[in-house]
Point group: D3
Chain length 324, copies 6
């Protein structure tokens, strides 16, 4: 399979690609054509079917995997696919992992690391709650592993939710060591569960868009309720502990303006907010820098940071003589 990032003007392409977007349009001359975006895990390319009614063009929809024959052309300095033949592919003809942005890290390895946090939780009810979600609920586990943590912004790739959750847990482990006043069991449980609502706030890949429920309720209220439901099924789950855990989830965005209905009132909620915020910012910048290649130039204004952004300069670490 030839990846999108390696397309060059004049190439002839033959293979299966994911159709991310599909919309009919009309030329100035009144001819109907199709605007498409084709995708694999290395990128996307604007594509056209200039003659949708020709024999080689079979019917398909957005989010289908499509076997195409096409030519790479250039329009206003940007590459474009001119698709001549198209046929919906069978499931056996492609592997989804080739077509979707995916975590750099091995998902199973990350998941095992995540479970270690659950195992360090001593409080029996919290421990059981984590097992209900992360050990016993196969459907949840499968969705959690392959979900993104966002539609865009950061961690918007397969495994992104897992990678982000694991990073937050590790930050919390550092906090617990540095600030022993923290309640480790509560913080670990909160870190593992803080974004579980995203499993239903965002649809699965390849769509990865806000669901109706997600838009109406948001992952914060959804996650808190999910925790409540499971806690009610665990005999003797202390009410106070349930409220503390839900508080950490409800407050993890830190500010009412960011969608948390409560400001953090427990030190564990404060810590979770800091860990979530730190990982989101580090990962966002990492993704910005990655897409900017090696450039050390200013990369333009970024809304999240309300600033122009630039990578810091790199200096070779030789010791000058006068440092002896």
């Amino acid at each position: 399979m030839k990846y999108v990032e390696s397309f060059r003007e004049g190439d002839r392409i033959s293979g299966v690609y994911l159709c991310k977007y599909k919309q009919s349009a009309v030329t100035k001359n009144g001819k109907t054509y199709e605007n498409l975006i084709m995708q694999d895990k290395t990128g996307t390319i604007d594509s056209k079917i200039w003659d949708p009614n020709s024999q080689g063009i079979e019917d398909f929809d957005a989010l289908d995997y499509v076997d195409i024959m096409a030519e790479v052309t250039s329009f206003q300095g940007t590459l474009q696919l001119n698709i001549k033949r198209a046929r919906r592919a069978r499931e056996s003809e492609y592997q989804a992992a080739d077509y979707l942005p995916v975590s750099d890290r091995d998902i199973e390895v990350m998941y095992r690391e995540l479970l270690e946090f659950a195992e360090q939780v001593q409080e029996p009810h919290l421990r059981m709650l984590l097992q209900e979600f992360f050990v016993k609920d196969r459907e949840f586990i499968k969705a959690f592993k392959f979900h993104s943590a966002a539609k865009s912004v950061h961690h918007s790739f397969v495994g992104g939710l897992l990678e982000h959750t694991l990073s937050v847990c590790k930050l919390c482990r550092y906090y617990v060591e540095a600030y022993p006043i923290l309640n480790r069991d509560l913080l670990y449980a909160a870190a593992m569960c803080h974004d579980i609502g995203k499993v239903y706030e965002l649809s699965d890949f390849p769509e990865n868009d806000y669901t109706d429920e997600g838009q109406l309720l948001g992952h914060i209220a959804m996650g808190s309720e999910m925790v409540g439901e499971r806690a009610h099924q665990i005999p003797g789950f202390p009410k106070k502990l349930e409220h503390e855990l839900k508080h950490c989830i409800l407050a993890h965005h830190g500010e009412l303006e960011y969608g948390s209905p409560k400001k953090p009132a427990l030190i564990e909620a404060v810590a979770l907010n800091m860990a979530d915020n730190t990982d989101a910012k580090m990962e966002t910048l990492k993704e910005i820098f990655k897409s900017a290649g090696n450039s050390q130039e200013w990369l333009g204004y970024n809304r999240l940071f309300e600033s122009n952004i630039r990578r810091s300069s790199q200096y070779i670490g030789l010791q000058p003589n006068n440092l002896q």
Copy 2:
């Protein structure tokens, strides 16, 4: 029983009053005494027990009903009770309704009016949900009827939650008639349920203070989850409808800064927010004016309205001759 509002300097008082507050203190001379606030439904009065160890003073706690003998004195222009004897009263010796601020309206009459809204809901799952709460759940019904709608601010009296909920429902009934685009069933259900979380956010009278759960979670998330729990027990409750109802509850404060994790996205959520806001403001001003008596003077700065407040002037509606 002599009510607090009728106390005059020099009166000798004998009867049962609610002790709202109790704290030991020490005079300059090193003598211990008790600072108390005694209350009935007409008001509160600062009170002292200057000799807590004297024979007539038995042990009691804040929020106890206490049978006292006392004298009304005046200190720096304010009346004060000098308590000489005190004894915890038996349940048969008082009626709670005499000691707590209470709605002007009959609670049972209001409750019947509220149920009429539930009966107008045609959509069967919403209808059943309302019955689960407001018809079948005796514990919930009892708490709902006697709860306040706030610790202070507005409707902070017995029956206040019911009175506010009923007013909001009636405003929504007007909206439904004026704006037929509104989904009546959804709006009525949302109006009835919008503050049910307050039953657990605030403790029962006479305490009427934020609970631990209330401070950690808030009535908005609590109410949404309560609806979710009941909906899951009703067979075939449409998921989309459940999300819409929960959205209305989550969004009913209208702004993220006011603790709603979502801004209203459905017209019914917008309408509920307007009804809630309108009734809260009207009732707050009504209570301010009531406590100001007949004064038409400026009543000072009010934080909710971010303005000085005054009652409008009243003119007699005689028709002058030149209006003929």
Copy 3:
């Protein structure tokens, strides 16, 4: 007359349409042509005159009614008029009501309903003031009836100002019944007058744009001054009452940031603000939903509501068996 909403590609059109916009442009080849927007009450259509100097094209301006011969074409999926002949129409050749967006409700019926509010006002000076504007001032009455309530956003159609004012009055009537503490006379007078400044803030249809005065002063200060002018002509108009009425107008946007120079300090000003806000939001959503047809999909981000918007779902109200 063939309405714009029924145009189909290939149609040949002949009739009078309102020219909303007209601007000369130049093709890549250096030829001059005219960009136009033609309008009737059912919609607008981009139009071109490719040869402005040809014999059949007479001179006309934006906001003229023009008798055209044209062909409906399609460009990039959107319909377009290719105008071959054009001639400014005489007044006898068209009826303005066919060309402008207009209230669904009968203007005279609404106006009579509005006058009923004036008749319920008992305080003689307020009553006389309302008669000065709404009964005696023919020029004002004519303008008020046919004005919009906005350039866009909501009620931006002929009769919109009247329709909005009437809705606000009706909400106030409900408030007066529900909250007897409200001063009915003051509130009705304020509701009727709250937006009278818009008669001069916005120009008449078909232009319906901000006037110079409107941009410099705004309808809030303008309306308050208009009330002052009339009140000064009514013998014995109580100064305090004049100030209260003007305050309601000045404060009706509710917040300084929304252009009110004073926050509401009277309960009637608070009520007017709630009524204005409620009707504006309901009507805005009604118009959004209307233009979205029957779609129950998410309708994208709306700036007024700071949220994505969606119509709530409709369920058939059959009673399931288990509700017996």
Copy 4:
């Protein structure tokens, strides 16, 4: 007459002072006494009448001028008047100017300077408008001359409104010279009229408090309407010019949050806002420094400046040798 600023512990005082405040209170022992604040132009002093029913104490009210006999005592480090005799003074017995804070500058001199600005206005309608207010309207002139520009904050003394208006005019004269693009006539007229609403927003001295009208409407809307009323009486006053002048008044606070219903849209409105702001800030600091004596210490937090404030240090300007 002995001024308040020269009172020393032990002094016996006999003379007329203004009673700024009067309120009955009760001692711990149940005795009634009077809390007063007595004032002259040099300051105020807390005062007590310990025996209001004694023979020498006649009846008087707050804001009366009172002839007293009293002793200066000290309580918790602060001086206090112990009043033994008190009698309402006759008008002939005092001169108001001795009792009220008053501008350092001669009011008549300032007023003549102000009129020079009116004389430089060439545009005949603006010129006539200024004459209507500042030359012909005796009642207005008298009030304008003796009014303060604020209840507190800055220029809260007799002549303060005049002094502030004159300073603003002078700043505008500088602007007109420095930025010839400014329309001198419009700017001078706007500067002279910008705060005329304060004549009725604040009551006369000695009360100097917000009036009912002032609280309901504010000096911004009031001043704009006052200008409108006069302009309508001047034949041929250009509408556009009236709107521009009113705009400058409406916009002179510069921001909606500061009570201007419109942001400045004309350069003259921007200039007026800067002049008003500059003079207000300079005068406020001047008054703070004056009341702080020669202290060059930090003077604590000031809300207007949202900062701690300190006077800058003074250095003797000797030229060191190395500057030759």
Copy 5:
């Protein structure tokens, strides 16, 4: 030399112009061409080199001065240069002043005026500090004279920094006369130095863009540090005075949100903030009006003023008879 503002369609141009921007692009047909912006002091014009490889086209870069032969064409109503020949010009072939926007006022005259402020400063250390920058440091002086005060917004022309600094000094001179409480020496020194950081925050013309240092540190912190460095080299410079001067620079934007790390705490810092703000606003409007020609129409929304903007109307100042 033919200036850009006088170009007409069909003109043939031959001369040296500054290339402000240069970027390669590809036509639909896959041919490479160059998009350029050419500039002189009267304006800019979009330009194309359709055949970059033709013999007459030599290599050059953005910000080079280029000797071109070209034809003026029109595309979509806008003029465009079609460049046929191009050659990098030698320094002797052009004068930079012809190609850059430049102050209307003579730079040397303005600089001498500025130095007069330094000469009025009596405090010897401040005086010496100003001499270090504005009299002795040739490199600084040269840069200061030819710098702009901004990338865009206002004073974004050669000499703009000097012109703005001089205007601010003059405003401060007026303030010192009007408010004698101001410390003249400190205020003049602060006014002269307030924007010196811009010499390094923005690169020299023709680039005139934010430098790396400028983006990272900003002219406020940079200017404060520059003052600190010089002050440390002047023997006996009083520490307190150094801190006061740096405070004025740090606080001159007036609000933390505008990038000042401290709010003004000294009256001189307040005055400097007002002077800077006043000149920036007046100059911005002057430039807006200048580019709008004689139009007295509304000029659209301006972000700095958060309002639509219009020039005020001009009336002929004839005295009507009734003013006699």
Copy 6:
């Protein structure tokens, strides 16, 4: 020495205590007395000298160490010292560490840990810069070690600046491991230097209050300039690197509203902001909880967190049987 925290009513005290505050006052009866606050490292106690002129009372000032004889009394439930004799103590009579709040951790141990971060910096100029401050500058080192990190809020004890800086460095070490994209050398240098301006923003203990320089400039601009001064003394220090380091210091408060003149634009500046924020919040809560003892009750509203605060509950970690 008897510590303040162990004082009981009736105790007779004899020893050296630090006088934190001293102010003369006058009793109702006109007698002068002294209000004092005496302090040791375990707390403070209100104190009185009722007869300042008695023989045993020698002269002393606030911030003196004073040898006193006194009696512990109780007033309104609070302990108070009644001082009978007082004499300024000689330096040999006390050890400052007994009287000031001091870090729980050993200062020299912490300092050695801090130096390890400097040793891991490879880039030679940054390394040399850190050595200039933290290894070679004895005065700086001494001040840095014994400074607080704040006047109040958090780390307001001897060694607080060091303890906070070390915690921030350790968080940064964790970040560098977790997010390898971070430039370790730049981040460590920035972390070590981020609060060095506090050495001069706050005065030394026992005063520990804002200095004049601190109020005028703030530790952010001061720290950046301190780094600039040293960097300029190191031959070949790369300009770009200096700007990056200063940027990290200038931006470390994260928001303009919090006094940073620039928002973080480099990932190291973002990381430093998160580390500073995290440690400040954790330490603040730690100190709140410490002063609240073992209470798990709600501890009231905290301005920093804009929320009521409570410690989370502690559960014993026994494994229930059903977890096997």
